[in-house]
Symmetry: C2
Subunit: 344 residues, 2 copies
DNA sequence: TGTTAGCACTCAAGATTAACGAGTGCTAAT
DNA sequence: ATTAGCACTCGTTAATCTTGAGTGCTAACA
C-alpha cells in the first residue's frame, strides 16, 4: 500500500506532467508549495514509486513521468470529482433546449462543442436503434419513378429515404408492397429486419407481387444502412497541438484508424454503462498506445442508447474532461428523453 | 520564347521533381535517356530558365526545382492530355450506374474513390440548388407532435425534414400552413425562399393562422439549411504522406482551413466552368501557398450544377489527376442527368 | 558559334566533439 | 527517518569538420 506521502508525490507528478509534458525532477518538485520535503527525500520516494511501477524514467538521468499504472491509480483514487454544479447543469439545459429537431444535427453539434471545450478529439455515437420497433411504414409516390419511404419507430424516431421504383411496377403493386411490409415489419425490432426481409417477407413478396426481385434489391439497400448508428467527430485537429504528437506519421496512423468509423463504432459501443476511462494500451489497439479515452453513455428514459467519448493523449486532463463528459451525457439524455417522451 | 531544348529541360525537371521531390542537378539529368547534352550545356540552359523565372534553386549549390511559373508553363503548354479512352469512360459508367439513389451517398462515394485513385485530397461540392424551383410541398403529420415536410423540386430532387409541430396548433392550422406555403413557394427558386418567407409569406401566415410565430421559427430552421450544398471530403490523410508536409503545424493549418466547409465551398463554387488548374498562390489563400488545386464542374442536362476538385502539393502529378478528374466529372454528369431526366 | 571539359567555389547535411546542466543513486552526517 | 553532499549519467545544444552534390565561369574544341 502506498503511504500518504507517496500518493501526494504521485499526484504532484501527474498534475505537473499533464500541464508541462516535461519529466518532473525532485529538485523542481521540492519547490512546490504543497511539498515540504527535501529533494533527497522525494528522490527516495520516487525510487520506491518507480519500483512499484507507478512512474517511469524516460532515461536514466531524467525526471519521472507517470506510467499507465500511475495514471490508473490517479484516476481511480486521487481524483474525487465533485458532483456537477447547479449552473453547469443549467448550461447544458440551455445548450440542448435550443430546439434542433433533427437528431443528427444535435449529435454533430455535441461533437463540435465537446471537442472545443476539452481541446481533445471527441466522438459521438448516434442513438442505437437495434431494439426499437417499427410503428408505421408509409410510402409516398413522387413524380416520376421516385418514391419516399417513411419509417416511424416506437421511440418516436423518424427516418426517411427516397428510392427509385423499378420500371415495370405500377401503383397497385406498390401498394401491395407497402401492405406486406407493414404486416411483416411492424413491431419487429430493427435489428431483426434484415433476417425477416430475407426470409418470410421475401416469400410473401414473391407470391403476391410481380417483379418483386427488382423491388427487393432496392428495399434492401434502403433499409440496410441505418443512418442512425453514425459516428460524429469533433476536433481532430486538436490532437496535432499536443507536443507528443508532432510526428506526422504517428498522427496519420491515428487518423487513419479513427477514419474508419466502424472502428470507433465498435470501440464505443462495447463501452460499459456510465462513465469509463481507458488508459493507453487498456484499449488494446495498436494506434492507441499513448492515447486515453474517456467515455460515457447516454440514455432515453433510463435505458442506454448511445455513447460519447473524448480521446486525447494519456497525459490528459482527466478531471476536467470527466466533468465535461458527464455534463454532456446527462444533457443529451434529458434532452432526448424529453423529446421522445413528449412525442408519444 | 523558349527554345525546344529549354522546354525539354523544363519538362524533365518537372517530371523528375514530381517523382522524387528532390532538386534536379545537371549531372543526374544528363544521364536521362531522352537528354543527349552534357551537364555543362544543361547548366547553361538552366541558368537561362532560372533567369526567366521558370525554375528556382532552393540554395546556391543545389539542383533546380520548378517555380510556380514553371508549373504553369508545364500545365499550359507541355501537357497534352489525350482524350479519355473508351474503357476509361466505361469504367466510370460502371461506377456510377450502381444505383445508389441518394445523391448524398453518390457524392460521398465519389470523394472517397477520387482521393483513393489520385492519392491526394479530394473535395466534392453537392449539386447547387439555387435555381431549381419548388414543385410540390407536402407535410405528413406523424404520431405525436412530429411531422415530416417533403419538398420536391423541378429537377426531381427530393428533400425531406422532420420537425416538431408547435404545441397549440391543430390539424386544420397545419393544413392552412401547407396551403399557404404551396401557394407562395411553388415555382420560386430556392435561392429566393428566405426572402419570400420573411416578407409576403409571413404576412399571409400572420393573417390566417393562429400561433403563426411558433410555426414560423420552425419553418425557418427547417428550410434554411439546405443540405444540398454540403462539401464532401476524401483522403485527407494522403496529404500527410507527402514529404513536403512532414511538419505537423503546417498540416494542421491546412486541415483547419479545409475543416471550415464554407471556405471550401466558396473556393469551389467560384471555379470556372470546365477544368481549371490553380497553382500555389494563384488561389490567393494563405494556407494554399504550396498547394495546387485542380477542379472540374459537373452538370445536369448541360447546365453546370456543381464541382469537384483535387488538392495536393504544387509538386503534383498534374497529368494523371487531370485525367481522373475529367473522368469523374463526366461520369457524375451523365449519371445525374440520366437520373433526373428519367424522373421527369 | 554552340558545346563541352575542367576547376574553383558554395552550402546543406551529417558526423564528431565538447560543454552544460538537470537529474539520479548512494553514502554519511544530522 | 531525513537530508546534505558528491560522483556519475545522459540528453541537449552549440561549435567544428568533412563530405559531396551542385554551381558558375573560363578556356578549349568541333
Amino acid at each position: 500500500m502506498l503511504s500518504r506521502r507517496q500518493l501526494l508525490i504521485l499526484q504532484a507528478i501527474v498534475d505537473d506532467y499533464v500541464q508541462t509534458a516535461e519529466p518532473i525532477g525532485s529538485r523542481s518538485m521540492s519547490k512546490r508549495e504543497d511539498i515540504s520535503f527535501s529533494p533527497a527525500t522525494i528522490r527516495n520516494e520516487m525510487a520506491d514509486l518507480e519500483e512499484m511501477g507507478y512512474i517511469i524514467k524516460p532515461h536514466s538521468s531524467a525526471g519521472r513521468i507517470p506510467s499507465n499504472k500511475g495514471y490508473r491509480l490517479y484516476v481511480d483514487h486521487l481524483l474525487r470529482p465533485e458532483p456537477l454544479q447547479e449552473h453547469e447543469i443549467l448550461d447544458m439545459e440551455k445548450f440542448f433546449t435550443r430546439r434542433i429537431s433533427e437528431v443528427e444535427a444535435v449529435m454533430r453539434k455535441t461533437a463540435a462543442v465537446l471537442s472545443e471545450l476539452t481541446s481533445y478529439v471527441s466522438v459521438v455515437l448516434g442513438p442505437e436503434m437495434e431494439h426499437t420497433r417499427l410503428k408505421q411504414l408509409q410510402m409516398l409516390p413522387l413524380s416520376g419513378r421516385q418514391a419516399i419511404a417513411i419509417l416511424v419507430t416506437d421511440s418516436g424516431h423518424v427516418e426517411n429515404r427516397t428510392f427509385d421504383i423499378p420500371e415495370q411496377m405500377n401503383a397497385s403493386d406498390l401498394e401491395k408492397v407497402v401492405n406486406i411490409l407493414n404486416e411483416q415489419l411492424v413491431d419487429t425490432p430493427i435489428g431483426q429486419w434484415e433476417e425477416r426481409l430475407l426470409t418470410e417477407t421475401r416469400r410473401l413478396l414473391h407470391r403476391h407481387v410481380r417483379h418483386y426481385e427488382d423491388m427487393f434489391g432496392v428495399l434492401r439497400d434502403a433499409f440496410k444502412t441505418q443512418r442512425s448508428d453514425q459516428v460524429f467527430y469533433g476536433g481532430m485537429m486538436n490532437l496535432m497541438m499536443q507536443p507528443e504528437f508532432q510526428d506526422v506519421d504517428r498522427v496519420r496512423m491515428i487518423f487513419e484508424w479513427l477514419d474508419r468509423s466502424e472502428n470507433v463504432h465498435t470501440l464505443l459501443s462495447r463501452t460499459q454503462e456510465g462513465l469509463s476511462v481507458r488508459i493507453g494500451r487498456e484499449n488494446d489497439i495498436e494506434a492507441f498506445a499513448d492515447l486515453s479515452m474517456i467515455t460515457a453513455t447516454y440514455s432515453i428514459d433510463g435505458s442506454t442508447v448511445g455513447s460519447l467519448g473524448v480521446i486525447g493523449p494519456t497525459r490528459m486532463e482527466y478531471e476536467r474532461v470527466i466533468r465535461l463528459i458527464r455534463q454532456f451525457a446527462t444533457g443529451l439524455s434529458t434532452s432526448l428523453t424529453r423529446k421522445y417522451r413528449h412525442d408519444k
